[in-house]
C-alpha cells in the first residue's frame, strides 16, 4: 500500500509524462509484438523472414519502455517551485497546453477539411485556430490574419508552385 502511495505521489507530479510516455511505448511494443507473431519469423535457409525484425524490435521496445518508466519513477523529482495552481511554472504549462491543443487541432481540421472543402477553407480554418493559440488573440486580428494567410497560400501553391489542387471544393 505504501509503495502504491509512493507511485501515486510521484506519478502526480511533473515526472508524470516521463513515466507515461515510456509506458505507452512499451504498450505499443507489446501490440506490435503480438501482430508480428502472425508473420513468418525464419525462412527455410534459417535467414530472417518478414516477422523477425519487427518481433525483435517489438521485444526491445517493450522491455526498454518498461525499464525507462521504472527508471523515471525511481528518479527523485526536483521539488516544485510553489504549490500547484499558484506556481510560476503553471503559466507556461497552461500556455503550452493551449498552444499544443490549438496547433494539433489546426492540423486535424486541415486534414478533415482539405479533401472535402479544398485548400483555402482548410487553410483559413487552420490559420484561425493557430492564431488563437495564445491568449492575446483579438477577433479582428485573427480574421485579418486568416485572410492574409489564405491569400498567401493561394499565391504560393497556385501562383508560385503551379499546383493543380482545387482552392475550393473536393479534389
Amino acid at each position: 500500500m505504501r509503495y502504491l502511495q509512493v507511485i501515486r505521489v510521484r506519478v502526480r507530479n511533473w515526472t508524470r509524462s516521463a513515466v507515461v510516455v515510456p509506458l505507452v511505448l512499451a504498450a505499443l511494443g507489446g501490440a506490435a509484438g503480438v501482430i508480428a507473431t502472425s508473420l513468418p519469423m525464419l525462412a527455410r535457409n534459417g535467414t530472417p523472414a518478414s516477422g523477425f525484425m519487427p518481433a525483435l524490435l517489438a521485444g526491445f521496445l517493450t522491455v526498454l519502455g518498461l525499464a525507462a518508466a521504472v527508471a523515471a519513477l525511481a528518479r527523485r523529482p526536483d521539488p516544485p517551485d510553489r504549490a500547484p495552481g499558484l506556481g510560476s511554472r503553471d503559466i507556461p504549462q497552461r500556455q503550452e497546453v493551449r498552444a499544443g491543443l490549438a496547433l494539433c487541432l489546426a492540423v486535424g481540421l486541415f486534414a478533415a477539411l482539405a479533401p472535402a472543402a479544398g485548400l483555402l477553407p482548410a487553410a483559413g480554418v487552420a490559420a484561425v485556430v493557430c492564431l488563437v493559440a495564445t491568449e492575446e488573440a483579438r477577433p479582428a486580428t485573427v480574421a485579418l490574419g486568416a485572410l492574409t494567410l489564405m491569400v498567401i497560400t493561394a499565391l504560393l501553391f497556385r501562383g508560385l508552385l503551379g499546383s493543380a489542387v482545387p482552392l475550393f471544393g473536393a479534389r
Partner: protein
C-alpha cells in the same frame, strides 16, 4: 588529393549556376532567420520545407537545405551575442563570452569576429570534405553487408549515446523509430507489416509527416508555450572588429575549425559538442592569458568556427557512408531519398557532380553569409519582435498545404497529427525525438544488410565476428554504449542528493 581538387573545380562550375546560387542564397538567408528565432531550429525548418523541395533539382534542393543548416549556426550567434538568446544549441557556448563583449559595448566587433570565424571554419571544413570524401566512399564500397550492418548499429548506438536524456528511453525511442521504418510491404518476403489494410501504408510511412510532426510542430508548441522574451534594447554599433581583435581571433578560429571538422566527421556528434570542445581547448591552452569570463574574443571565434565546421563536415558520414550524424542529417537523408538519391557510397561514385556541387556551395554560402549578414543584424533583431503565433500560423498552414499538394493523401495529414501529438508528448516528458528519426532512417537498410549477410553465410550468425572490421565495429558499439552508461552513472553520482539543501 588531385581527385579532391577536381571534385571541387567541377562543383564550383555547377554552384555558379544562377538557379543554384539563388537556392544557396535562399538557404543561408532562411537558415540565418531560423537561427535568429529561438525555438524554430534547422531540423524543424528543413523538415517543414521538405514538401517544397520536391519541385527543385536535386543539387539545388540539397544545397538549399545545407545552407539552412550552417546559416542557422551563424544566425544563432547573432542573438546569442546580442541578446544572450541562442537560437541553436551550439549558440549557448558563444553566448558565454559573446554576451559579455556586448555588455561591454563590443557586440558589433563580436558579431564581426563570429562571422569571420564561421567563414574560416566553413572554408577549412569544405576543403577537408573535398579531400576526404572520395577516399572515404572508396573505402566504404569495399566493405560487405556484414560490415554495413555493424556500421549501422554503431550509427544508432552513437546517436542514442549522444542524445540528451535517459539512455534507456533513447534506446526505446530508437526501437520505436525502427519499427515505424518497417511499416509497409516487406520487399523480400512480400508480406504487409503493420499496414492494417490501409492502402496508403503499403509503401511505408512517409518521412515528411514524421519529421514535421516530431520536430516542426512540436518545436512550435514548445516555443509558443514558453514565455515571450522581453524586447531588449539594441544599440547599433559598428560590426567591424579592430586589427587587434582579428589578430587575437585568427588562431582560435583556425583551431576551432580543425576541431569542428574532426568532431563533425564522427557519427552521432553535434555542433554543440564541437563548440564545447573548441572552447575547452582554448581555455585549457590559454587559461592564464586573455579575459575569460569577462568577454574574450577567442571565446567567440573558436566555438563559432567549430560549430560551422562541424555542421558542414557532418555531411561526410551521410554522403560517404549513408550514416546521418545527427537529426538534421537524418532529415537531409530523407530529402535525398525523396529526390531519388540514396545516401551512401553510391552517391560519391555515381553522382560525384552532386557531391562537388554541395562542397562548392559550402564555400560560396559561407562567403554569402559574411557579406549579407553583417548589414542585416538590425533586421534580424526586428524579426525577433514578430509575434510567434503569427509565425506558427504561417508555418502550420504552409506545411499542411505543402504536404497535401505533394502527396494528395489525407492519410499523411493524419499521420502528421499523430506525430505532432507524439512530438509534444516527448517534449513534455523531456525526451529528444532524434533517436526515433535515426531508427526510422536506418532500420530498413539494416534489415536488408542483415538478411544479405545471413543469406551469404547460410544463416551463420558468427559471420559478424569473423571479419576484423565488423568485429571492431561491434566492439566500438559496445564501447560507445558503455561510455554512455558510465557517463550517466558518473553524472548521477556527482549530482547532489535530494535531501541536501
Amino acid at each position: 588529393m588531385t581527385e579532391g581538387v577536381a571534385l571541387l573545380v567541377s562543383g564550383l562550375a555547377q554552384a555558379f549556376d544562377p538557379t543554384t546560387l539563388g537556392l544557396c542564397l535562399a538557404g543561408v538567408l532562411l537558415g540565418t532567420l531560423v537561427g535568429v528565432l529561438p525555438g524554430l531550429g534547422p531540423v524543424a525548418t528543413i523538415a517543414l520545407l521538405l514538401p517544397i523541395t520536391f519541385s527543385l533539382p536535386t543539387a539545388g534542393a540539397l544545397i538549399m537545405l545545407a545552407g539552412i543548416y550552417y546559416g542557422a549556426q551563424y544566425g544563432s550567434s547573432t542573438t546569442a551575442i546580442l541578446l544572450r538568446v541562442p537560437g541553436e544549441a551550439s549558440g549557448v557556448v558563444t553566448a558565454q563570452e559573446g554576451y559579455r563583449l556586448a555588455q561591454a559595448g563590443r557586440g558589433g566587433p563580436a558579431l564581426g569576429i563570429a562571422a569571420l570565424a564561421s567563414l574560416v571554419g566553413g572554408v577549412l571544413s569544405a576543403l577537408a570534405l573535398a579531400v576526404v570524401m572520395i577516399p572515404l566512399a572508396r573505402w566504404s564500397v569495399t566493405i560487405g553487408p556484414a560490415e554495413t550492418a555493424c556500421l549501422m548499429v554503431l550509427g544508432i548506438a552513437a546517436a542514442v549515446a549522444l542524445t540528451r536524456g535517459s539512455l534507456t528511453a533513447n534506446w526505446a525511442l530508437a526501437a520505436f523509430g525502427a519499427l515505424l521504418g518497417l511499416i509497409g510491404t516487406d520487399v523480400a518476403g512480400g508480406h504487409p507489416r503493420f499496414t492494417f489494410g490501409i492502402p496508403e501504408l503499403r509503401d511505408g510511412i512517409g518521412f515528411i509527416p514524421l519529421a514535421m510532426g516530431l520536430f516542426g510542430v512540436a518545436e512550435l508548441i514548445r516555443a509558443l508555450g514558453a514565455r515571450e522574451q522581453d524586447s531588449p534594447p539594441l544599440s547599433a554599433t559598428s560590426a567591424w572588429p579592430t586589427r587587434a581583435d582579428l589578430t587575437s581571433a585568427l588562431a582560435p578560429a583556425v583551431r576551432g575549425g580543425v576541431i569542428g571538422t574532426a568532431v563533425g566527421l564522427l557519427p552521432g556528434a553535434s555542433t554543440l559538442l564541437a563548440a564545447l570542445a573548441a572552447q575547452a581547448s582554448e581555455r585549457g591552452l590559454f587559461r592564464r592569458h586573455g579575459a575569460w569570463g569577462h568577454g574574450e574574443m577567442a571565446g567567440v571565434a573558436a566555438p563559432e568556427a567549430a560549430n560551422n565546421a562541424a555542421a558542414q563536415s557532418s555531411f561526410a558520414p551521410l554522403l560517404a557512408l549513408g550514416l546521418p550524424a545527427n537529426a538534421v542529417m537524418a532529415v537531409i537523408a530523407g530529402a535525398m531519398v525523396l529526390q531519388g538519391v540514396a545516401p551512401g557510397p553510391a552517391v560519391v561514385t555515381h553522382h560525384p557532380e552532386l557531391i562537388g556541387a554541395i562542397i562548392a556551395s559550402l564555400l560560396l554560402g559561407n562567403g554569402m553569409l559574411v557579406v549579407l549578414n553583417l548589414p542585416l543584424v538590425g533586421l534580424w533583431v526586428a524579426v525577433l519582435r514578430v509575434p510567434l503565433r503569427w509565425l506558427a500560423a504561417f508555418v502550420v498552414v504552409v506545411s499542411c498545404g505543402g504536404l497535401w499538394i505533394s502527396t494528395g493523401s489525407a492519410v499523411d495529414l493524419w499521420l502528421l497529427l499523430a506525430f505532432s501529438l507524439l512530438g509534444w508528448a516527448l517534449l513534455r516528458a523531456g525526451m529528444d525525438a532524434t533517436p526515433v528519426l535515426t531508427g526510422f532512417v536506418l532500420a530498413p537498410p539494416f534489415e536488408e544488410a542483415l538478411r544479405r549477410t545471413l543469406v551469404l553465410a547460410r544463416g551463420d550468425w558468427g559471420v559478424f565476428l569473423e571479419s576484423p572490421l565488423s568485429a571492431t565495429l561491434l566492439v566500438a558499439t559496445v564501447g560507445v554504449t558503455g561510455i554512455a552508461v558510465w557517463r550517466t552513472h558518473w553524472s548521477v553520482s556527482l549530482r547532489p542528493s535530494g535531501n541536501c539543501k
